[in-house]
């Protein structure tokens, strides 16, 4: 494979070891249907859903089981045929506990859902669908950004008369170590991804499309560019190889790298006319619009040294972590940390009955050695003011000042150093020689700030 060197990048960032070898060459594998799934009613940014089903009610694949009338929200569907066992508080990887629906799978009529990528090829014309129809299907399918934050996709692509969209950026960076699901999507489902991209562009009314892929994935860059070439004249669509650096796949960093533009602090990309979608989301758009399937399954990378069979699995959303672990052959003896997401931004979970959500792209299992080396063996010292965290911060903040302001309970000072502008990427903690949990303090600061605001009304 010819070496491809990405030139575009952003200032700051870090170079964590990539560790993609675990799942890089594992084709997507369809997992078996678990006996029970727990579907959280809050899997996205925005209003949580209200359950539409009652206890002991029978549900079928694709049935809407949760919905909200709020504009920023996304409905939730059942991934299996079965019966509602309970509606109860369930562990949530990020926000602790939240309401969810537990569904028992029918013992018989449940075959694992297969990916639909085979139905897409060269002869696809996005203009067969009207923008309204596309947005409708996306909303009904409950699509949210599958890369991380989980912002409802329909809200993103729907044309907004106040903020005209000019560029659609597709995020194929996958800058987090260990994770390979987007990479496999690009390799195996490339036609579906391209179809989704074109549908999204059509719906949003943009002509300029840029697909950003880090240069540590030359195969993906090649296959996506080749596919676009085969399609011939389909407008201004280009693959942009990017430098491999964390957090290249952060929305704001990606825009900076590709367009050289900066999103104003505290604003979202649409304010400068940009819409960013992740490749997995694009694949889901194509499936939702053309096949009419709601978002009930996704690819999850299972990776790390502490799991027997790492790989990329096509699983129902709502499958519990413990079930997936069992399917992957169980944890090894040395497992010490289970992370939902990648090691830089993921959430360590203690309760293995936590279900997967629409945004969980990976489970990373770290061994005791990896965890102690990174966290416990190294002595935490006072900040030696070396300035490394400032250089690494992609948002150009002063992480040590914010963290210490939070530590000494000076929230005003923390805000003075732009606490809220932090994207929690973890670069500062990663590079800190004093091994201070800078990002941890900043997160705490944000929570305290939110609480203080609430108290004030």
């Amino acid at each position: 494979m010819a070496e491809i060197r990405g030139k575009c990048t952003f200032p700051g960032g870090a170079h964590p070891p990539e560790n993609k070898q675990f799942g890089e060459n594992c084709p997507v594998e369809v997992a078996t249907v678990p006996k029970q799934v727990s579907i959280l009613l809050s899997q996205h940014i925005g209003a949580p859903c209200e359950p539409l089903v009652a206890k002991r009610e029978a549900v079928t694949v694709g049935q809407v089981i949760g919905q909200s009338d709020a504009f920023v929200s996304a409905p939730i569907h059942s991934p299996i045929n079965g019966t509602v066992k309970d509606i109860a508080l369930l562990p949530h990887p990020v926000i602790g506990r939240t309401m969810g629906i537990i569904i028992d799978a029918d013992a018989e009529n449940n075959t694992p859902k297969q990916p639909v990528n085979a139905r897409f090829d060269k002869d696809f014309n996005p203009t067969d669908f009207t923008p309204e129809k596309i947005c409708m299907s996306v909303r009904q399918a409950g699509l949210v950004g599958m890369g991380g934050a989980g912002f409802p996709t329909q809200v993103k692509i729907e044309p907004n008369p106040r903020l005209e969209k000019k560029v659609l950026i597709i995020n194929g960076c996958e800058c987090e170590p260990f994770i390979t699901c987007d990479y496999r999507v690009m390799l195996e489902w490339v036609w579906q991804v391209i179809a989704g991209i074109r549908l999204a562009a059509h719906a949003a009314g943009v002509n300029k499309i840029r697909i950003g892929i880090e240069d540590n994935k030359p195969e993906a860059i090649k296959i996506v560019s080749d596919t676009i070439e085969q399609l011939g004249n389909i407008g201004d669509i280009q693959v942009v190889p990017l430098k491999t650096k964390y957090p290249q796949g952060g929305e704001r960093q990606l825009i900076k790298s590709i367009l050289g533009k900066t999103v104003p602090t505290g604003s979202i990309p649409p304010t400068i006319g940009v819409c960013v979608l992740n490749v997995a989301t694009c694949a889901a758009i194509a499936e939702a619009v053309i096949v009419g399937n709601p978002l009930t399954h996704r690819i999850v990378t299972v990776s790390g040294c502490a799991i027997s069979k790492p790989g990329n699995y096509y699983v129902p959303i709502g499958m519990r972590v413990e079930d997936l672990i069992e399917y992957c052959g169980g944890l090894t003896e040395t497992a010490a940390k289970v992370i939902m997401g990648g090691p830089m931004m993921g959430f360590a979970i203690a309760d293995l009955s936590t279900p997967l959500t629409k945004t969980s792209g990976a489970l990373t299992f770290l061994t005791k050695a990896a965890v102690t080396r990174a966290k416990y063996e190294k002595q935490v010292t006072a900040c030696i003011r070396c300035g490394r965290c400032l250089t690494a911060c992609p948002e150009h903040l002063n992480p040590t000042k914010i963290a210490h302001a939070v530590k000494y309970n000076k929230l005003d000072l923390a805000k003075d150093y732009y606490l809220s502008a932090c994207m929690e990427c973890g670069c500062c903690s990663f590079v800190c020689p004093a091994n201070i949990e800078i990002t941890g303090y900043i997160k705490t600061g944000k929570i305290l700030d939110a609480r203080a605001k609430k108290r004030l009304g």
């Binding site: 900076k256 505290g266 010292t381 030696i384």
Partner: protein, 352 residues
Amino acid sequence: MLSKITVSPAPHISQDLSTRGVMGDVIIALVPAIAAAVWFFRFQAVWVIATCVLSCMASEWICNIIRKKPNSLGDLSAILTGLILAFSLPPTIPLWAAAIGSAFAIVIAKMLFGGLGCNVFNPAMAARAFMAASLGALMTTWTVPATMGEVHCKGQEANALAAIHAENTYDGSNGEIALTQATPLAWAKSAQKGKADVQLVNQMVKPTFYGGVGGCLGETSVLALLIGGVYLLIRKTISFHIPAAVLIAAAAFVGIFYLISPDKYANPAFHLFSGGMLICAFFIATDPVTAPLSVKGMWIFGVGVGALVMLIRLIGELPEGVMYAVLIMNALTPLIDRACKLMPAGGKPNVS
């Protein structure tokens, strides 16, 4: 199974870097200079360095016990302080003085401020200032290195040395003054006053580069310091900003003077290579604790140090200004940090 699983905030991996590693790297970088000091000053150097390091370590250990804090010798910063202090002392310093100075560095300049990371002034420089103020002549008595004249100074340089030496003797016509004038910077000072030939001073560039001139323990060999500095830069233990700023500012400052009256002032190369300039640029000014955080701040800090050193050397009464320059800029560091407050990448948020 569950009991074995731990949770903690992200990120869950971290770079192979530690405070101990950073300090250790600086110590490794000082090894060539230690070797040079031992080579040029023989056992005098060994004793002074050992005294300073041990005294610093003991002080740190005792302070931690008194403050009821965990032992912090492991971060190696006390050893580093001891080394830097030893390097800025004359080889003839009595060992009791070195021990007291080291204790001052740790107890007063570091621990009283709150320990590692909280001290405002570079402990070694603060201690040296204390010693200069209280020990007087002991701090300005320089011996000629043991090896001088034998190994490194042949031919023209040897002549220059001899000539200057003769001049000094003539100049003061008593042994003591001749001794105190033995550092190249002192010659430069007397050249500036018209008492020595500046051409001879300029010829000193080569011996100062390889070492073998009078001065503090760590100042004699430019080569050894450069090796250490380059090592630190390659290892990315220090960023290039502060050394570059110090050296460029100093060179520019003396360059102007040199251009205006080359027969009065020594050339920039001489000033960069002599005295504490290089050890300051690579090892003292770059002490992370007492330097600004941001890159912009580092530039300001470095330029300030470089310019102040030259200001003291060329205009002030003292032949050398590293110590005061660093201390003054240390005092300004909080201000610099405040002035160079970073703006977030996306500009000021309109809603707070």
